[in-house]
């Protein structure tokens, strides 16, 4: 007892309860890992179910909180009047933005698992490790979303990345998947290095890793003349650019999307984008907010290039996964547009964009999975031929996803673009708004081409043969997903208001 009293109790124990969801997720992941050891291959469904339950409970914890958590939150809100509450010596933050993003990540991951189950089973990838890796990746994302110091951001990012590398290479006998994993790993490592280097420079100048301290330092110093800070900012943006996959740091995106098993691409192309958005907001807005002039210029260039390159090269693709990869690049350009506006409504617009994009992209990849069967990857655009004659409902859903990606009302993609463009027009960067809409017209061409293949072309004999049977939960989720795109398109107000409120109360 004496020994204990010698150690100064500098932290308040209850505060760490803020991270209850993360702690539960970690424990749950370890449990899934262990439990899977005792599960026979034929009973793998149990592992799947456990993983889903863990994700669901975590989402519930984020949404409802626990008694302790809510008490701390209420107390802190009353004491400081702010909705963002920190724990672990201010390294971890819980604010409305983090909550919304975490719930989105968790729900989307659950959807991804539903979509991929049959795909994994028929391709010898239905293993316990797959689910454990997914859960670890989700944990990484949640840490990224809630990180308040640069170190923690990096930690979360690496946890996510390492899990993703392994997942891309999961089919280890597949040469293309291994190649994709290798590329992803090497470029990811370079990006992490860049990010870390930038962080170390910023640390060197400002003397802190904590985003709030950096921000305080910046507001009292002339930051735009400080060469060190500018250099640090540049490195950080290069790192973020790699992770988000924007031009000119996009080269890995098509190769990885194409090479990875479709189920992994489905995961890779959805939830981590949301985490990457959070990372950008934390680093650039919360940490380096006073350098807005600096990053605004760089981001507008990156956004314009992404829109141009993504949309133009997507036209030339014959492979759906590659087409979606380039389309993702252009969509990330739009996300950057909202952020570079530098206003709260701009960040909210980007947040709305990234969440809805994840929903849409999830549906798009799900249709690719739907068309595949054992020993056959339906990843060519030609595989869509005559889909409306074979599977009218799936074709209709795919049409909704594609029109939404093109930004045609009454699908949700339109409101995402509308809010982002409003933000940049508000910030008086009208050239970029005009450029963005022109590029979205070019983008409409390749989405329309895919719709044309589905609706106006006759199916080839080769593509007409049977698919592997699809479970009811897949079809139900696909319908839900498609109708959500339409419903959010008719009534986008609630989600939009939620994003705006989350941003306003968090920043």
């Amino acid at each position: 007892m004496l020994l204990f009293s010698l150690i100064p109790m500098q932290f308040q124990l209850p505060n760490i309860m803020l991270a209850t969801p993360e702690m539960f997720l970690l424990a749950g992941t370890c449990f899934v890992l262990l439990a899977d050891l005792f599960i026979k291959d034929s009973q793998r469904f149990i592992t799947y179910l456990l993983a889903q339950v863990v994700l669901l409970i975590t989402a519930g914890l984020v949404f409802f909180g626990t008694g302790d958590m809510n008490a701390i939150i209420a107390e802190s809100v009353q004491a400081t009047g702010k909705m963002s509450i920190t724990a672990f010596s201010d390294m971890f933050v819980l604010d409305p933005m983090a909550q919304v993003l975490k719930i989105s990540i968790l729900l989307i991951t659950m959807g991804v698992l539903v979509y991929s189950r049959e795909y994994l089973r028929s391709r010898d990838m239905y293993k316990g490790e797959y689910f454990t890796l997914t859960l670890f990746a989700v944990l990484g994302m949640m840490i990224m979303v809630s990180a308040k110091t640069m170190l923690l951001i990096y930690l979360g990012l690496e946890l996510l990345s390492l899990a993703m590398y392994a997942m891309v290479a999961f089919k280890r006998n597949d040469g293309r998947a291994s190649e994709a994993a290798m590329k992803y790993f090497v470029l990811g490592a370079i990006a992490s290095g860049m990010l870390l280097y930038g962080m170390s420079i910023i640390y060197g100048v400002s003397g802190s890793l904590h985003l709030d301290h950096i921000s305080t330092y910046m507001s009292s110093h002339p930051v735009m003349e400080n060469l060190g800070l500018l250099l640090g900012l540049s490195f950080i943006i290069v790192g973020l650019g790699f992770k988000l996959g924007v031009v000119p740091f996009h080269m890995w995106v098509p190769d990885v999307y194409d090479g990875a098993p479709t189920a992994v691409t489905l995961f890779l192309g959805t939830a981590p984008k949301i985490a990457a958005f959070a990372m950008i907001i934390r680093l650039l807005v919360e940490g380096l907010g006073d350098m807005v002039q600096g990053w605004q210029q760089i981001l507008s260039l990156l956004a314009a290039l992404s829109l141009l390159v993504g949309n133009l090269i997507a036209i030339a693709q014959t492979n759906i996964k590659r087409m979606f990869a380039y389309s993702t690049i252009s969509h990330m350009g739009f996300v950057l547009m909202g952020i570079l506006a530098g206003t709260q409504s701009g960040y909210a617009a980007s947040m709305f964009y990234i969440i809805t994009y994840a929903i849409i992209a999830m549906g798009g990849f799900a249709v690719v999975i739907y068309l595949s069967r054992e020993g056959y990857e339906a990843d060519q655009l030609a595989d869509l031929k005559g889909l409306s004659a074979r599977h009218p409902w799936v074709a209709f859903m795919m049409m909704l996803f594609l029109f939404s990606m093109a930004g045609v009302p009454p699908t949700v993609g339109f409101y995402a673009k509308l809010s982002v463009i409003t933000a940049v027009v508000d910030a008086n960067v009208i050239w970029l708004a005009v450029f963005g809409v022109v590029m979205s017209v070019i983008g409409a061409y390749y989405y329309l081409r895919a719709i044309k293949l589905m609706y106006f072309d006759k199916p080839d004999d080769a593509t007409n043969s049977a698919r592997s049977p699809v479970q009811w939960d897949f079809t139900a989720l696909l319908s839900l997903n498609g109708l959500a795109v339409l419903a959010l398109g008719i009534l986008p107000g609630t989600l939009m208001a939620l994003c705006l409120k989350a941003i306003q109360t968090s920043l």
Partner: protein, 504 residues
């Protein structure tokens, strides 16, 4: 009946009805269900006419509900004298389309009927929307059913035509979106009425005007952005051509009245010469192009472009008239009324022309003029209708085609003799291409065996064409009620268009 939500019924009844039609599958029930819904919608839309108060320009049948509160976007519907007749035109045309596709459409009839019903609802939304974003959503959403209609039921080159149609229109409208957003940042609201009053500098006004010109010019379509129309018309099924010509093109004209003139009056004044130049080019040059067509649908498509040139000419005559008369807008009203009457009348006439061509196409499966000749020998009733509509197309007095063109030409004399002169050439060129078409297709000796085997129009076709003939003559002989309804609203547009919005 339907107090307070009449317009919502007109928007959503066809859309929900379209979904119901889709659910009937391709059984016979599809057609009666679609017909009942379209007739019900038309009947309900008549309540607009009967309940409309033609005194004053204020919006009527207003509905207002918050929709996207983050952007202060409201679900705001309402009609005035300009949009009310257009909604009626739309609901009326859809009934005809359902009837016209009754036996002809054998491939996926439920999807065909559903597309047109959903499109009807969306177009009603375009005309009724009083919020810029709501307008834009309907404006764009309309493309999806049309894209599918041309792409699935179109001719041999339908895919090229439908993608061209979609991209052209999409390209035109995105600039309008940026302009609307810019005005939102200035006015703090997307309500069309607020955008009418917000002050704007000259440079923004010019840019906004140009973006509107692209958006609505593509839709009208105006020379030189008209090239999608012949392709779309030729490839579209008959119903698609009819709705395109009769209703969709009117959205462009409506846009000029609702957006360009009141929102950016100074830029409209500054650039009126451009619109008038483009309109006259459409009237004269496109008229000559129509003359050399060998495909009937293409000929009527080009003739549509020429006739729509009169609409935009009539709307923008206001500014040269003001200049010529030293500030008085007298006479301008006649130009605007002429343009509006021309829109409605063109809706009937072009719809009728495309339906007539559809009648021939269903029997002979060709649109080449050369393949016909002497049709009147085998189809006397059809020939009578065709000649009537052709005469209306050339602007024969007593038909609706005469009223609009005559008023526009009359008004243009007040502006400038040469405008009137060039505009009036349409009476010659239009007569030339239309009558030559009649001569080659209808008159003469029976050209070949196929023509010799033609049967005259059946009851269904007779009914459709008789209704159209009635309206063509009614508007031609007694346009007064139509002009009365729109009068006050047009006066208000002139007032707005002549009030400077420049920031001092």
């Amino acid at each position: 009946m339907f107090d307070g939500y009449l317009l919502s019924v007109l928007v959503w009844l066809p859309i929900i009805g379209g979904i119901l039609t889709l659910l009937t599958g391709d059984k016979f029930a599809t057609r009666p269900v679609a017909l009942i819904i379209s007739i019900a919608t038309f009947a309900i839309s008549l309540l607009l006419w009967t309940g409309f108060n033609s005194k004053g320009y204020q919006l009527q049948f207003v509905e207002l509900m918050p929709w996207i509160e983050t952007f202060k976007v409201n679900y705001h519907l309402g009609v005035d004298g300009i949009s009310m007749p257009l909604i009626l035109l739309n609901t009326f045309t859809t009934v005809l389309i359902v009837l016209a596709g009754w036996e002809v459409i054998k491939h996926k009839p439920s999807q065909y009927m559903a597309s047109f019903l959903i499109m009807e609802g969306i177009i009603n939304g375009v005309f009724a929307a009083q919020d810029a974003i709501l307008f834009y959503v309907f404006f764009e959403a309309m493309l999806i059913p049309m894209f599918i209609v041309i792409g699935i039921w179109g001719g041999d080159n339908r895919i090229y035509a439908t993608i061209k149609f979609f991209l052209y229109t999409f390209f035109g409208s995105v600039f309008m979106l940026v302009s609307l957003i810019y005005m939102y940042t200035q006015a703090g609201s997307f309500a069309i009425a607020d955008l009418h009053t917000v002050k704007l500098g000259m440079t923004p006004q010019i840019l906004i005007f140009l973006s509107f010109l692209i958006a609505f010019g593509v839709k009208v379509p105006m020379w030189p952005v008209h090239t999608w129309l012949p392709d779309a018309h030729v490839q579209a099924p008959t119903g698609g051509s009819v709705i395109l010509a009769a209703v969709m093109l009117k959205i462009g004209g409506y846009g000029f009245l609702r957006f360009s003139l009141p929102m950016v009056p100074d830029a409209s004044n500054e650039l009126a010469w451009l619109v008038i130049f483009m309109s006259l080019t459409a009237v004269v040059y496109i008229g000559f192009i129509a003359l050399v067509q060998s495909d009937m649908k293409k000929l009527v498509a080009y003739s549509s472009i020429a006739h729509m040139g009169f609409v935009t000419l009539g709307f923008f005559l206001l500014f040269p008239i003001m200049k010529a008369s030293g500030g008085s807008s007298e006479g301008a009203l006649m130009g605007m009324q002429g343009g509006m009457v021309q829109m409605i009348s063109h809706g009937f006439i072009s719809g009728a022309m495309f339906l007539c061509i559809g009648v021939l196409y269903d029997r002979m499966h060709t649109r080449e003029i050369n393949a016909y000749g002497g049709v009147s020998n085998r189809m006397p009733w059809f020939a009578a209708f065709f000649v009537l509509f052709a005469m209306a197309n050339t602007g024969l007095p007593g038909t609706s085609g005469f009223v609009g063109e005559f008023m526009v030409i009359l008004a243009s004399f007040k502006a400038n003799f040469w405008i009137a002169f060039l505009g009036a050439t349409t009476l010659i060129v239009g007569a030339a291409y239309t009558l030559w078409l009649v001569k080659r297709v209808i008159f003469g000796a029976v050209a070949n065996d196929q023509v010799a085997e033609l049967n005259d129009i059946n009851k269904r076709e007779t009914l459709i064409l008789s209704i159209l003939a009635f309206f063509v003559l009614a508007v031609g002989l007694w346009p007064e009620p139509l002009i009365n309804v729109m009068n006050d609203s047009l006066v208000h547009v002139i007032e707005q268009a002549t009030t400077s919005k420049l920031v001092n």
